[in-house]
């Protein structure tokens, strides 16, 4: 409040920035909720990758992988074969995500060979138990867009769980960037 004798004309001055800022703060232009954009045609399960906890992964499995799904993985046999189809072959890598159990190490395993279309891409080390996310670039001339290609994972050892032959727990495998 102005005290007696003060010029009231000068009193609003300190209020000006506060009023100005408050007014502008109230003018923040935020959009409200909006409808979702136009939706693309629904895509089916990917043909280049197998998520082994998904039922549709059966379509990718050729042999050597259990039908039973445990949480987010399946048992793989000594020789596991999957079939994929790629729409893009440039700059892609092959990936396998798996867990090597202690039993496989004790059985003397050293490696899991990975072959793409019959050609050796590399070896996943299996001499130590634990989680493995293995990825390796795939030469462009090994794969053709739109054509089936097989990926073969061959362990150099296996172990027995009851009467079942086991190697490692495969979570997912396929082509990625």
């Amino acid at each position: 409040m102005p005290r007696s004798g003060q010029d009231p004309a000068v009193k609003p001055a300190p209020c000006i920035p506060a009023v100005f800022l408050a007014a502008l703060c109230g003018c923040a232009r935020l959009p409200g909720p909006v409808p979702p954009p136009a939706q693309p045609a629904p895509a089916g399960p990917p043909a280049h990758y197998a998520l082994l906890w998904e039922p549709w992964a059966e379509e990718r499995i050729v042999e050597g992988i259990d039908k039973e799904i445990h949480d987010d993985w399946r048992w793989a046999g000594r020789r596991a074969v999957l079939r994929f189809r790629l729409e893009e072959t440039r700059g892609v890598q092959f990936e396998a995500i798996l867990v090597v159990p202690e039993e496989l190490v004790r059985a003397g395993a050293r490696r899991i060979e990975v072959r793409i279309g019959g050609r050796l891409l590399g070896e996943i080390p299996a001499g130590r138990a634990g989680y493995q996310a293995w990825k390796q670039p795939v030469p462009e001339d090994w794969i053709e867009p739109g054509k089936d290609v097989t990926a073969e994972l061959t362990a150099d050892a296996e172990w027995l769980q009851g009467k079942q032959r086991r190697t490692y727990m495969l979570s997912s495998a396929g082509f990625t960037l």
């Binding site: 000006i16 920035p17 703060c25 923040a28 232009r29 909006v34 979702p36 629904p42 280049h48 997912s172």
Partner: protein, 730 residues
């Protein structure tokens, strides 16, 4: 040579028009002026008026050569009619001692010649040739203001750029630099006159030379930057305050300081404090009001164009999609501590003799700056320190050497007052000799940013401008390549800046605006493994009837936490019931906070786009979808990237007719298949965002993958020069 004449005309016409407006303003200010200060102050006081006029012309989109020429002619005619050109009988200031008359005269003349030559040379400074003049050139092409959403620097106040634009119309880049040079040269004269006025002529002369001959002031003041003009204008505010100029004039100059650079607006505190000290409240109000009015066009433009009057700052106060809060958070941190600066103890040597880490150096003379504290014994010294402290205060926000420019004249003055008078001529002379291009190289090794030569052949255009620029300016030829190989409406996404003022094409540098960051994000999502959509977070809940689902962020990392800088992102949010996805209907409503603009990106079905918080994670952020009716829901899946370890989420549901309630905590995450066509999808998104071309340098992080897999990306190289490669999006 004709080009050199057009450069001189452009700059001369600008200075003349400012001077003419200033003469008319000073006449009305009824300020008693001495002969030596009348013309100097006329130029400086006319500059804000001319700047406001050009601002109005830009707002009216009336910037045409003929309009500029006609407006200039009208100003000069009005000034002539007002008697501005008439000789006045004015009293002189107290004379300078003979030694100082000669020393100041000789050094000032020498440096003026060097400065004018340097400024006339083709503009090649990093910021000048990129955004300062890039934006001026854009305004010139569009005849006024344009909403430039690809360059956050376009939202800075542009008081000086308005003068650049006036000069640019006739002399292009070098004319603009020469206008800045006029302020650089006016400042030492103003400091000298201030000293004469304040009964400290030797200190004024010495301080003027200390500033003039500093390597940083020389290189900055002769480029199309704004710092020397800021220093000059803030000094003029102090000068006018001490001269008892009318409050409206001081206020206009203070507002102009803000129009030149946000942080320079602090100078208004000086007259306000001085007037408040004398209890001149009415004058305080007038200073404040005049400053606000002069500064007002810039917050007003920013609010209209960018939704944030303080753009590109304060984006949390005024949320907008022009500049992301995350950018501001990172930028502010970066500016407080430049790379290589581990301790503030490094600053004295970096600022004075090294200059490599802080973008320039002031010269070894400024190691004596602490002596300036002795000036506190005198009243003039205390005034100078008050102004210096006010203007140095924002320095902590950006420790680059040139950000001391507004305070430098006052530090110089304090030094000159504190040092023994007999030492001043020797120190000034040594500093002057030591600052000539490129003497610093002889005694300091290879210090930071400075003038390396006096390019008189280039200045007079005796050497071909394009060849000189191609040799001197990294990226100049890339700018010309873009100009030659792209259509006029091209939008070129680049990862690093080029001298974009030399092309008329719009260059969107990755980090320079929210739009650019979002475009670049599409590219990075396909480029970097950690940013690809390869994680699926799955909330499973008992089947419920819900009207909407909301994913809420629950983590607020503490400062110093390794995840403090994480941003939250969601590529797709999908809702399921009994394993089947709930189709997204037009009746749905999607929203997010922060970044509501990006919410649709989490519902567009594209793995190449994502909603991002664009702000460091904090509890309470959310992304939601409302269905418009009750739907059965038992699962919500979030497709995400792997670059957000600090993110902790909670699922909330909206019960029919009720409010939001918590349904589940942090969800388990599992692998998702990355589409092999992600690169091509990213480029499709860029195209959808308006990008037509990509400009990459061989040193860019994206170069390797994009050049090796160009076909997979859907881009085609159409030209290259100097390790720059231009790709067209197919």
């Amino acid at each position: 040579m004709p080009k050199a004449l057009s450069v001189l005309f452009g700059a001369g016409f600008t200075v003349l028009c400012a001077w003419a407006l200033g003469r008319m303003a000073l006449k009305r200010a009824r300020l008693e002026l001495a002969r030596e200060e009348a013309h100097l102050l006329a130029f400086l006081c006319g500059a804000p008026l001319l700047s406001l006029l050009v601002t109005a012309m830009c707002a009216a989109r009336a910037v045409y050569d003929a309009a500029v020429l006609a407006a200039g002619a009208a100003i000069l005619a009005a000034a002539w009619k007002d008697g501005a050109f008439r000789q006045q009988e004015l009293a002189p200031l107290p004379a300078l001692p003979r030694l100082w008359r000669w020393l100041f005269g000789a050094v000032f003349a020498t440096y003026s010649v060097i400065a004018v030559i340097a400024a006339m040379a083709p503009e090649m400074s990093p910021d000048g040739s990129s955004y300062h003049l890039g934006i001026v050139a854009r305004y010139y092409r569009e005849h006024g203001f344009a909403r430039i959403d690809t360059n956050l620097y376009a939202a800075l106040s542009q008081g000086l750029e308005m003068l650049f634009l006036w000069a640019f119309a006739f002399g292009r880049h070098s004319a603009a630099a020469l206008v800045h040079c006029a302020f650089y040269l006016a400042l030492p004269l103003l400091m000298l006159r201030f000293g004469q006025r304040m009964d400290a002529p030797q200190a004024g002369a010495a301080a003027g030379l200390f500033f003039l001959c500093s390597p940083l002031a020389l290189v900055d003041g002769t480029s199309a930057y704004t710092d020397a003009a800021v220093a000059c204008v803030v000094f003029a505010v102090v000068y006018l305050t001490e001269r008892g100029a009318p409050a409206w004039l001081t206020g206009v100059m203070g507002g102009f300081a803000y129009a030149l650079k946000y942080t320079a607006g602090f100078v208004v505190l000086y007259p306000l404090l001085r007037l408040a000290w004398r209890k001149q409240w009415r004058s305080c109000a007038v200073v404040f009001a005049a400053a606000m009015l002069t500064a007002a066009p810039w917050p007003l433009r920013n609010w209209l164009y960018y939704g944030n009057p303080a753009a590109p700052l304060l984006n949390r106060v005024w949320p907008n999609d022009f500049v992301h809060v995350s950018f501001e958070q990172d930028y502010v941190e970066f500016m407080r501590r430049y790379p290589g600066i581990e301790s503030y103890a490094q600053l004295p040597l970096e600022l004075t003799v090294r200059g490599r880490l802080l973008g320039g150096f002031w010269g070894p003379l400024f190691l004596l700056a602490p002596v300036g504290l002795l000036a506190l014994r005198r009243e003039l010294g205390r005034k100078v320190w008050l102004a210096g402290v006010i203007l140095a205060a924002p320095y902590a926000a950006n420790i680059g050497a040139r950000f001391l420019m507004p305070a430098a004249p006052f530090v110089s003055f304090a030094m000159a007052l504190g040092l023994p008078a007999p030492a001043l001529p020797w120190l000034a002379a040594a500093h002057a000799i030591g600052g000539i291009p490129d003497f610093p190289d002889k005694y300091l090794g290879d210090p930071g940013w400075r003038r390396l030569e006096i390019p008189w052949r280039a200045a007079l255009r005796l050497e071909d401008e394009t060849q000189w620029l191609a040799r001197q300016s990294a990226g100049y030829r890339a700018a010309r390549l873009v100009e030659a190989l792209t259509p006029p409406d091209a939008l070129v996404l680049a990862l690093n800046g080029i001298p974009e003022s030399y092309t008329s094409r719009e260059i969107a540098v990755g980090f320079q605006s929210g739009r650019n960051e979002r475009l670049l994000d599409c590219l990075q999502v396909a480029l970097f493994d950690g940013m690809r959509p390869k994680v699926e977070a799955v909330f499973r809940i008992p089947k419920l009837e819900l009207e909407g689902v909301r994913v809420v962020q629950t983590n607020s990392p503490k400062p110093g936490d390794a995840r403090e800088k994480d941003l939250w992102s969601i590529v797709e949010l999908r809702v399921y019931a009994e394993g089947a996805e709930l189709p997204r209907q037009p009746g749905w409503r999607v929203w997010a906070k922060p970044n509501p603009w990006g919410a649709p990106l989490a519902f567009d079905g594209s793995p190449a786009t994502r909603w991002r918080s664009w702000e460091r994670i904090r509890a309470g952020m959310f992304l939601q979808a409302e269905f418009g009716r009750a739907e059965a829901v038992d699962e919500v899946r979030l497709l995400m990237s792997d670059d957000q370890f600090g993110v902790q989420m909670q699922l909330q549901g909206k019960a029919p007719g009720g409010g939001w309630r918590v349904l589940g905590g942090d969800p388990p995450r599992r692998r998702a298949a990355v589409p092999l066509a992600l690169r091509r999808m990213a480029v499709a998104e860029l195209r959808r965002g308006g990008v037509t071309h990509l400009l990459l340098h061989e040193g860019d992080y994206a170069w390797d993958d994009l050049s090796r897999n160009a076909q997979a990306w859907g881009i085609r190289e159409i030209g290259s020069v100097d390790a720059y490669h231009l790709f067209q999006l197919e």
